[in-house]
Amino acid sequence: MIIKIVAIIIGLLIIGLAIYALHAKKLTVAILGAGAVSLLASIMFLLLAAPDVAMTEAAIGSGLSTIIFFYVLNKIRKQNG
């Protein structure tokens, strides 16, 4: 039961963060938001008995992806400057 409530909260957070990320003015916030969504999703995966996927999502979805995003953002900033 508690798990379910946690799951619902995570679900709501995911949606909320996603919307927030998309409407954030700053790109960094958007990227971080997406990373956070990924992280939350990986918790959800854990709840759903998928530790493998959770690890992967955490490592790749919220980790590497975000890093790549930032690299690109940085690069673009430099191109602007």
Binding site: P51, D52, M55, T56, I60, G63, I68, N74, K75, K78
Partner: protein
């Protein structure tokens, strides 16, 4: 704005379509026959305690090969795309990184690498495997790069690792055709005892290579992105 209205309309339609999935969605009480077979016979046939790994590496090995290929392609494309043309060799990033960061990175990097290796070596036993391990290794590289932005990553090393592991993956697969039941057949090597490190046929071997390869490829991408930062 009218266009956004259309988009909303279409997305509502899409939601309506998706709702048919959610409506009355019930998870099964038991596994379907295919999964059931994996659950029942998997430990014996494949010898991997982690059934996900069994599925990923053996039953659906070809998918994994494709997946590795995709990463390989992405890395190749990014490399091909962001081909660095060092206009002025000296025009490197000069922003200094804090001492603490550098030290921490120096300490942490080997640990992260080790963790990555652990994750893919134990892929058939515990959660994790080649992909996760590879990603962790790449994160280690990121850490290194954060500490030393000017560090030149050895592409040759990356490529050699990538190539060897990739070739090995394919080679094992082909050996499967020649000496066992088919491409990527796991029974090429003995199954060993379920739950021990040296079990599950060629899975650990494959996962090692996958891990190395994924790690190399992701590193490759990161390295290219990093280097392109310095592009003229």
């Amino acid at each position: 704005m009218v266009k956004n209205l259309y988009i909303i309309l279409v997305l509502v339609g899409l939601g309506f379509m998706f709702y048919t999935f959610a409506d009355g969605f019930e998870s099964a009480d038991k596994l379907n026959p295919v999964a059931e077979r994996y659950a029942k016979q998997g430990p014996d046939e494949v010898g991997a305690a982690n059934l996900v790994t069994a599925v990923v590496v053996t039953y659906r090995g070809l998918d994994t090969l494709g997946e590795v290929t995709i990463l390989f392609l992405s890395a190749a494309i990014v490399a091909f795309f962001l081909k660095v043309t060092y206009g002025e060799e000296e025009k490197r990033q000069t922003r200094s990184v804090s001492e603490i960061m550098q030290t921490a990175a120096r300490l942490l990097t080997p640990a992260v690498f080790l963790l990555g290796i652990y994750v893919f070596i134990n892929g058939h036993l515990t959660p994790g495997g080649g992909f996760q391990g590879g990603a962790i290794i790449a994160s280690g590289l990121v850490l290194m790069l954060l500490a030393k932005p000017n560090m030149k990553v050895s592409h040759t090393l990356i490529h050699v690792v990538e190539s060897i592991s990739g070739l090995a993956f394919v080679f094992i697969g082909v050996l499967g055709i020649l000496y066992a039941g088919g491409f990527l057949d796991n029974s090429l090597m003995g199954m060993g005892t379920l739950g021990s490190l040296l079990s599950a046929g060629v899975i650990p071997l494959i996962y090692i290579f996958v891990g190395l390869k994924v790690g190399a490829e992701l590193s490759n991408i990161v390295a290219h992105l990093q280097e392109s930062q310095n592009e003229a």
